[in-house]
Symmetry: C2
Subunit: 238 residues, 2 copies
């Protein structure tokens, strides 16, 4: 049986402020938890309705009713784990780096982290306005990739000014990406869902690229930031 | 002021059964509604807190409280429209066609419809197990692309057996898509989020392709179906 104060601590971790205060974040689902247990992350507590049969002193068997009380999901899985937020590792300014300028949607960030993992992008740099990568919806969407990508939150304009790699950004009027020469080292900047890349960041971008539209040219909609990232990373790596 | 029966009709359209019974679906958000008003779709009713200044006899000015009652969104926009579900147009079996084998997530289907629109794929063929394209979450995610892609729900195995185009499918063990010769005409089959392409459909696929992984080879996760579709359509079109 969970105490009231335990429940309060866990459910509070939905909020960024409380995650930062306590230094913990929540992971749900047996598959993702098992993947994270094999990573460098440190487990704080594991609440589960069925034992994991692992040597974890901090495993607590709980009832389905208790799991429902602490879960962030409408349909809870059978386990919820609390891990310690790891210390930020410095950004390695080599290879291909993805930078996000105020990406707000947790699902989009989660998908982009998975894409970085898939395409071997080791460093993801986020502006301070980008959604927190330990947000439960982001963690859920990353499916374990979170541990394999080094994520830093920085002053993006200041960071981009310090480095000497070419800086790519997606713009409607950019050069056709299928005809662009893409280097092995560089930074790919992706912008906010509604407003794209901010003026301050745009001023630092050295190479504007675009994904050509093949459909009805009258239509005004752009691609979603996560699908555009998928296509651009594929172009950098192919 | 909306009557109880009006509210019941509108909120009922969240369910596929009632959409099919009444032949209506719901669209929210001024931008998407305006885009759909310019399409071939027929408006049944427009409920809005601010007039659209259009010649629509079926425009009804309502209060914010009433909009909240009928909206499917946690944070309602300023308008909700009901359109008639158009009659299915026959599938044109030429050019590039995308086929979905039991894609269940509304966000994924919405993203794939947008991708078809972007890459000029005019025909999207869905198995009967695929989520309904008039589901409000799908409509929300398509951002107007819904009117520019011809979507049919069919017995997918039977359909694939009748046509003579090459049938491509994404499989982990498939040929590297970056090295494959991709034709201008063909069918690209994408599978279910958890189980991939079903055995019955797999038996009909003539070309298995894969997106190579560049990251840590130990990791087992695959790409999300919508991002994989983005990369594969980009490869077909580039």
């Amino acid at each position: 049986m969970l105490s009231k104060s335990q429940i309060k601590l866990i459910t509070g971790l939905k909020q960024k402020k409380q995650r930062q205060q306590h230094g913990f974040f929540v992971v749900e689902g047996v598959k993702t938890i098992k993947e994270l247990l094999q990573s460098h992350l440190e487990l704080y507590a594991l609440y589960t309705t069925e034992t994991f049969n692992i040597d974890a002193k901090n495993e607590v068997l709980i009832s389905e009713a208790d799991l429902k009380r602490i879960s962030f999901l409408t349909t809870p899985n059978t386990a919820l784990a609390i891990f310690k937020i790891p210390a930020q590792k410095p950004i390695e300014t080599k290879g291909l780096i993805v930078a996000l300028d105020a990406v707000r949607d947790p699902g989009n960030l989660g998908t982009i982290i998975r894409l970085c993992d898939w395409f071997g992008v080791k460093n993801l740099v986020c502006s301070k306005e980008t959604v927190d990568c330990f947000n439960p919806k982001v963690v859920q969407a990353t499916m374990g990739s979170l541990t394999r990508v080094n994520i830093n939150y920085v002053d993006l304009v200041a960071f981009l000014k310090t480095i000497s790699l070419p800086v790519f950004g997606a713009f409607m009027e950019g050069e056709n990406v299928y005809k662009s020469k893409l280097p092995e080292q560089g930074i790919l900047v992706m912008g906010n869902e509604a407003n794209g890349v901010s003026k301050e960041v745009e001023a630092i971008i050295t190479e504007k690229i675009s994904i050509p539209r093949f459909g009805d040219i009258q239509a005004t909609e752009s691609l979603n930031v996560a699908t555009a990232t998928a296509i651009l990373l594929s172009e950098f790596r192919r």
